[in-house]
């Protein structure tokens, strides 16, 4: 076991996957010699050579399209989109191609590809470096979408994603790269090395895609969250003293329906906390899942805490970010008709 940041965990996952399987290749903008703008691929080109880890032109449609071709050949490409905000030129290749090649060819061709991208705000990235587009992937049947919340999960989930036989979107909450940020932006972040999930095995292990984890057991209310919002929810629970059960979804598609249903049926209350915009966001899907599966167990209306339906503002980032104060208020509100 080694203490690692989320960046180191992600790098270690690719290292382990590349070492184990010579068909794993890594490429993207700035990922080769330089090792990526967030340093996630640092050292991989040196270790595995430029045929297996290399720089790509600034062309997301090209990166994803080429990766699809490579995957169809039999490789397992793991590509990086520099920011999730930049994925859109590659979206046609994801939604129309990667997602449907297995289906449309009845399994004749498959796309075992992983597309990594930093997601979410909290670094003063403005409206072009802060987006959370996970709902756009989760809406596409044929893609899997993973959003880890800590180094241990990030490594195990990324290895599982690379070894998965279907295309996996791997969204890395960039605000968590260096520590479990809980939304208190005016306070220093505890480094991962002081966090129990900042320790991970050096070698190979996987965390199955589609399985949620309970980060805090509780009996008052279920909080459904993923990525950065897991830590915000934990902070809000601690600060309000409400006995919340915090479910870290980890994979939003496939979604762990059973874990969600079991927890909400137990607590009878639910708060959904998502950084992305609200309307038609993944929070709406979670709301539907709870309504369809747990309506008769609910003792209060389900509440969503999300980013507002505006672009991510630069100067007013902290007014926009659904921090522990807003989550705490939602927890109190959902407990009102006790």
């Amino acid at each position: 076991m080694t203490r690692m940041t989320m960046i180191e965990a992600i790098r270690s996952a690719m290292d382990v996957a590349m070492e184990k399987n010579p068909n794993v290749v890594v490429f993207g903008e700035d990922v080769g010699y330089f090792g990526g703008v967030f340093r996630c691929t640092h050292g991989l080109q040196k270790k595995y050579g430029s045929q297996r880890c290399f720089d790509a032109p600034i062309s997301e449609s090209g990166i994803v399209g080429a990766a699809i071709g490579m995957a169809a050949y039999g490789l397992r490409p793991c590509v990086e989109i520099q920011f999730a905000d930049y994925v859109y030129p590659g979206y046609d290749q994801l939604a129309s191609e990667a997602a449907r090649i297995r289906y449309r060819s009845a399994g004749d061709f498959t796309v075992p590809m992983t597309v990594r991208m930093p997601t979410g705000g909290g670094i003063f990235g403005g409206q072009t470096h802060s987006q959370s587009p996970e709902a756009l992937f989760a809406h596409v049947c044929g893609l899997k979408t993973v959003i880890p919340s800590n180094p241990y999960d990030a490594k195990g989930l990324l290895i599982a994603a690379i070894e998965d036989d279907d295309p996996v979107m791997f969204l890395e909450p960039k605000r968590l790269y260096n520590g479990p940020f809980d939304g208190h932006h005016d306070q220093p972040v505890t480094p991962w090395k002081k966090h129990e999930l900042g320790e991970a095995p050096d070698g190979h292990y996987t965390i199955p895609l589609g399985k949620a984890a309970t980060r805090r057991e509780g009996s008052d209310v279920t909080v459904l969250a993923y990525g950065t919002m897991v830590h915000v929810a934990l902070a809000a629970a601690a600060e309000t003293g409400i006995d919340a059960e915090v479910i870290d979804l980890r994979t939003i598609l496939p979604l762990d329906l059973e874990a969600i249903e079991a927890s909400v049926r137990k607590t009878g209350r639910c708060v959904i906390v998502v950084e992305a915009t609200k309307t038609c966001g993944f929070s709406a899907e979670l709301m539907s899942v709870v309504m369809e599966g747990c309506f008769h167990h609910l003792e209060a209306p389900v509440i969503r805490v999300t980013g507002y339906d505006t672009p991510y503002p630069h100067a007013h980032e902290w007014a926009y970010f659904p921090g522990p104060k807003r989550v705490g208020a939602a927890l109190k509100k959902v407990m009102e008709n006790n």
Partner: protein, 414 residues
């Protein structure tokens, strides 16, 4: 109000128009068509810079008299050519039959390759087993010339119980990894960059296989065309990038994708990719240029861009009526003629073929197709079935069905 000094007339937008519209007399007099045999054949390791002229010319082998002439001639035996003729005749007869089947209501849709059969049929001959094509919907010639079963193609067209893609795809969207035929998308141009990625993978693995990407001239305007050229040139991918210029993208003439500026082949020049233009209705020329490009790729010399100059003699699809946008007799005035007629003339001139044998072969091919059609229809047609069971719609979305799909399938009772 007085005009400011130096002002000119108001701006106006230029929208290209084809030479002819319905009612006009079709005229291809402006088209540059070199004599057969006039264009040189450079070595495959030529500096791309030294063959820029080939992107603006047209490589041709068969002349009007049916002789094979010039440096690109002499690469195929008479047996090869007879087989090639048979392939093209099969594609044409197959298309006619399936077009009719659609009109009879046996399927929803069909797309012919009428007039451009030489492009895919001759190209296929230059490839090896294990190579991969990333085709568009009009390269059925790759399958037929590769010996793929027309019966299986019909099962796909009918979406019947034996359809290899389980009734999930529009007719003609075949898939056969075994036969080097990547699953067809229907979203245009996406396959072009995928072909480059596949070729890069072959190079990464130190393999000897190459890829061929296919695209129509109209969809070269998509970004995937450009990203394919960037990636192919950057990594010197072992790929042949084929632009089939059949003049028409549904109702849109080629000038809308190209402007009035240059050729589609010349798009490759800025990328340092050797780019050639070839008479797409000349089986011998298509083969020779394909072989040249495939050899380059196989020798790790990198990509080649080929523009096949041809003409879509039929409608875009069964949903299209070309009389609404181009002169009815435009096809018959197309100066590069018909690929089957031209090869036939060549073989007859060399006394390897005759009108009589041609008529016999045509009848025999038609009978084989009819036979296959009867057999396929025993396993169902689109509207009458049988199809694969409806529950299979839930399969192959993922390698293993996740819980939400299992639940939806249960709810559907399938």
């Amino acid at each position: 109000m007085s005009k400011p000094k130096g002002a000119t007339s108001p701006l106006s937008l230029f929208v290209p128009e084809p030479e002819c519209r319905p009612g006009d007399h079709p005229d291809f007099n402006e088209m540059l068509i070199p004599e057969a045999g006039a264009v040189r054949m450079p070595p495959v390791d030529v500096e791309p810079l030294h063959i820029h002229d080939l992107a603006y010319s047209v490589i041709r082998v068969l002349n009007d008299g049916g002789e094979a002439v010039g440096p690109w001639a002499g690469q195929l035996s008479d047996e090869d050519l007879l087989e090639g003729l048979r392939h093209m005749m099969t594609v044409r007869a197959f298309d006619a039959r399936m077009f009719m089947a659609q009109r009879q209501g046996k399927t929803s849709f069909y797309m012919q390759a009428l007039g451009e059969e030489a492009v895919a049929c001759a190209f296929r001959r230059a490839m090896r087993k294990g190579d991969m094509n990333f085709p568009t919907y009009r390269q059925q010639g790759l399958l037929i010339a590769g010996g793929y079963s027309i019966y299986t193609m019909m099962n796909q067209i009918y979406s019947n119980e034996l359809d290899p893609v389980k009734g999930r795809q529009l007719p003609v969207m075949y898939s056969s990894k075994e036969d080097g035929y990547f699953t067809i998308s229907g979203n245009l141009a996406t396959q072009f960059i995928q072909a480059v990625g596949w070729a890069m993978a072959s190079a990464i693995k130190g393999d000897d296989k190459i890829a061929a990407g296919w695209i129509g001239e109209g969809s070269t305007a998509e970004n995937d065309f450009h990203s394919a050229l960037v990636f192919a040139s950057t990594y010197k991918a072992p790929v042949v990038l084929n632009v089939v210029n059949n003049q028409w993208a549904i109702s849109t003439f080629q000038g809308i994708a190209r402007g009035n500026a240059a050729t589609f082949a010349s798009r490759g020049l800025g990328f340092g990719i050797p780019s050639l233009r070839v008479d797409g209705n000349d089986y011998l020329a298509v083969y020779a240029v394909a072989k040249w490009a495939v050899d380059r790729a196989r020798r790790n010399l990198g990509p080649t861009l080929i523009e096949f100059v041809t003409y879509r003699a039929g409608a875009h699809s069964t949903s299209d009526d070309p009389s609404g946008y181009r002169p009815k007799d435009e096809s018959s005035t197309w100066p590069l003629g018909d690929p089957i007629e031209r090869l036939k003339k060549h073989l007859i001139r060399h006394k390897k073929w005759s009108e009589e044998r041609h008529a016999q072969a045509k009848a025999q091919i038609e009978s084989e197709i009819l036979q296959a059609q009867k057999q396929a229809e025993e396993h169902g047609t689109l509207h009458n079935g049988p199809h694969v069971p409806a529950g299979t719609m839930f399969e192959d979305v993922y390698a293993e069905a996740p819980i939400h799909l299992i639940r939806q399938r249960q709810e559907a009772g399938l």
